[in-house]
């Protein structure tokens, strides 16, 4: 070893020693956390998801319009540009008032800015009637984050074919598109854990029956099964019920995967000494399962679940897109994308693709987070 290398290794020695100690004595969870935090993409993704979910939770406040509000004068309006300078002078964020003109030949409506009329953006304002909502379903309010002054319209993402503000709809849609997968995932988790642990713990005929059941359900092609089940949802059902059913349908198809994993984990964990010990000492089965066995592969399950969310998001979006899931005015990202099933919509009103960006980002974010978690769950690798 050259002198230089020696020296450098010695100067860094002290701090390294602490590092080493930490590395050595940290608990598994702390190690996971540390490793996860080092995964920049995963951290970034978690941050993005956090923002998405917070936005969704406070959606009614942030969104200028409610689900059923619309403005008939501004159908298919392009996103309104937000300005700061009027005739060279800084006036803060504002929009110009808009005029609608129809082309005399094609009857195409054009929404153009009236450069004369400045409408400032106000914050924390009382919304129009129809925009009422309840904070956490409890406290009624109609305060919205922002709104343009009288006469102005602010559509950050443009409007749809009913003159509904797409920005609001994306945010309110997130309340469904981001929560169906989570609820579905939890349902899958409960089903998968319960059934998988039954099979894995008891073995014997219980295992055989459950395995057959798993095989049968897994033999169903996922997409057509979703389609078939969704087609069975009565058309007149209320959005909330459709939401619940969709969740159930999505998780009905995905539990066997988890159950299988849980089962095999159980079988391998069952043989391990600490479980044997607990068993011999007479711990009841339920306690054994919940206190000892599940925690031993919990990290794995967390990863698996995180990774399963993207397919649920895509599932919900796809079904709604096909018209088999939620329907307007109930809003989800899939419902919003229904309008883009026409090429001409993309040609003429390309802003209607904006919801796609959010589907894309959330799927990506979940994938990266899951990846980070997976790497982190295996801290010694």
């Amino acid at each position: 070893m050259s002198e230089e290398v020696k020296k450098s290794s010695k100067t860094a020695a002290h701090s390294d020693e602490k590092k080493s100690e930490k590395y050595y004595y940290a608990s598994q969870w702390a190690l996971m956390g540390r490793k996860f935090r080092r995964h920049k993409l995963a951290m970034g993704s978690t941050f993005v998801l956090l923002i998405f979910y917070l936005t969704a939770i406070f959606g009614n406040f942030i969104a200028p319009q409610g689900t059923e509000q619309y403005d008939g004068k501004f159908v298919n309006c392009a996103p309104t540009p937000v300005h700061y300078f009027h005739e060279g002078k800084f006036v803060g964020p504002f929009v110009y008032a808009m005029k609608t003109e129809r082309d005399p030949v094609t009857f195409m409506a054009h929404h153009v800015e009236d450069k004369e009329k400045v409408c400032r953006i106000k914050f924390f304002t009382e919304g129009d009637p129809g925009g009422e909502y309840k904070w956490f379903g409890l406290f009624p309010s109609n305060i919205h984050l922002f709104e343009a002054e009288e006469g102005g319209k602010i559509f950050l993402f443009g409007t749809d074919n009913m003159g509904r503000d797409l920005f609001s709809r994306v945010i309110l849609g997130a309340q469904i598109s981001l929560f169906i997968p989570v609820v579905g995932m939890l349902l899958t988790l409960v089903l998968g854990l319960f059934i998988g642990s039954l099979a894995g713990y008891f073995g014997g005929w219980v295992d055989t029956v459950i395995q057959r059941a798993i095989e049968v359900v897994r033999s169903f092609p996922q997409v057509p099964l979703w389609m078939a089940l969704s087609a069975a949802i009565p058309k007149t059902m209320k959005p909330a019920q459709v939401f619940m059913l969709m969740t159930i349908i999505l998780s009905l198809v995905s539990w066997p995967g988890l159950a299988r994993v849980v089962r095999s984990k159980f079988i391998s964990v069952k043989k391990e000494d600490f479980i044997m010990a607990a068993r011999i000492s007479g711990a009841p089965a339920s306690k054994l399962i919940t206190r000892h066995m599940i925690p031993s592969f919990l990290s794995y399950i967390i990863v698996d679940m995180t990774m399963s969310i993207p397919s649920l998001i895509i599932g919900e979006t796809t079904l709604s897109f096909l018209g088999l899931g939620l329907r307007s005015p109930a809003t989800s990202w899939g419902v919003l994308l229904q309008e883009t099933n026409k090429l001409e919509t993309i040609m003429f009103y390309n802003w209607k693709l904006i919801p796609m960006i959010f589907v894309f980002l959330s799927v990506l974010a979940f994938n990266f987070t899951g990846d980070g978690l997976r790497d982190a769950a295996d801290p010694y690798k």
């Binding site: 169903f220 996922q222 078939a228 096909l322």
Partner: protein, 332 residues
């Protein structure tokens, strides 16, 4: 060996039976029955129907019988006569419908699968061998992106891009010009051109998944002890990789062919609807919506059977490829 196969076949038979029961249950879930739609259709066509006629038809189709009897009528016909029943909406036997669509569906699925494997295996190997290189990051990113876009959106976007570039949306399998032309080299090229979008859309998702699996499998294998042995023997690193690692890493992927064909097979469903492909997807969608229960049911049933058989093929393939599994397999 025979005992094992018999056991396996019995289990398969049981699974098939349970599946068909579930399928039948699902297709009879929606309120009403086919007759309601049949009548609706006739009315839409400007015809008059009376209740007696409807009741007579209901009796003919046993729609007035309890679930289990309806099921048995359907299931026994399939098992004993290979008769899948009658498609109400298309006015022809389900077998004929399936015959008409199975060709394009299979062709598309197999093309897609070839594409999937031809792309994913080499790319996965490359990514693993050159872990953390630019290429690895590049492919990994593409894979993540590919998995993040829902199929239907990908289809629409590609369609839009095709339209912008060529002025054609590349819908269907042929250009209008070749639709009914006899087979020729040009028609074949035209077909290939129209296959690009569907194959990309259906395959990309799968390919991305497979690349990621292949990469991690390969990484696993590269860290195995026998690699060290190989090196100690004096083998070239590349030789070890290809003789040992790739062979081992490909095993689980190759044996997933049965599975993945089924996946692709059904993955065509949504894409077919968006891209207007003459595949079972569209037919299934319409059958579901029209409550054409025998058609929808038979299709679901066939898909499930395909999955069971696909799993079986995967088992066999794995046994064939991996001596350890072969032993298990022979032992039963």
């Amino acid at each position: 060996m025979t005992k094992y196969i018999i056991k396996k076949l019995l289990i398969m038979a049981l699974t098939v039976f349970l599946i068909s029961l579930a399928v039948f249950f699902i297709i009879t879930l929606p309120p009403g029955d086919f007759m309601t739609n049949y009548v609706g259709r006739m009315l839409a066509a400007g015809e008059r129907v009376n209740q007696e006629e409807i009741d007579a038809l209901r009796r003919t189709y046993a729609l007035d019988q309890p679930f289990i009897i309806q099921f048995w009528r359907w299931f026994s016909k399939i098992i004993f006569h290979g008769d899948f029943g009658y498609s109400f909406s298309l006015s022809m036997p389900v077998t004929a419908v399936i015959k008409a669509y199975i060709g394009p569906t299979m062709a598309l699925s197999i093309t897609t699968m070839l594409f999937t494997y031809i792309i994913s295996i080499p790319v996965g190997i490359y990514s693993a061998v050159h872990q953390y290189s630019f290429g690895d990051y590049f492919f990994t990113t593409i894979c993540f992106l590919g998995q993040a876009v829902p199929n239907f959106l990908m289809a629409i976007l590609l369609m839009f891009i095709a339209f912008r570039l060529t002025g054609d949306t590349m819908l269907g399998l042929y250009s209008p010009k070749y639709q009914n032309a006899p087979w020729s080299w040009e028609k074949f090229l035209d077909l290939l051109k129209h296959c690009i979008i569907p194959v990309l859309v259906i395959g990309l998702n799968n390919t991305c998944g497979l690349i990621r699996t292949m990469r991690s499998q390969m990484l696993d294998e590269l860290n195995k002890n026998y690699v060290m042995t190989g090196k100690a023997k004096g083998m070239k690193a590349a030789a070890i990789r290809y003789k040992y690692c790739v062979r081992a890493a490909v095993n689980p992927i190759a044996s997933s062919i049965g599975w993945s064909l089924v996946n692709i097979f059904t993955g065509t469903t949504i894409t077919a609807i968006v891209l207007n492909l003459p595949s079972m997807g569209t037919v299934m969608y319409n059958a579901l919506i029209n409550q054409d229960m025998y058609l929808a049911g038979s299709w679901l049933f066939l898909m499930a059977i395909a999955t069971v058989i696909g799993t079986f093929i995967s088992d066999v393939l794995l046994a064939w490829l991996d001596p350890r599994a072969r032993k298990e397999y022979l032992k039963g």
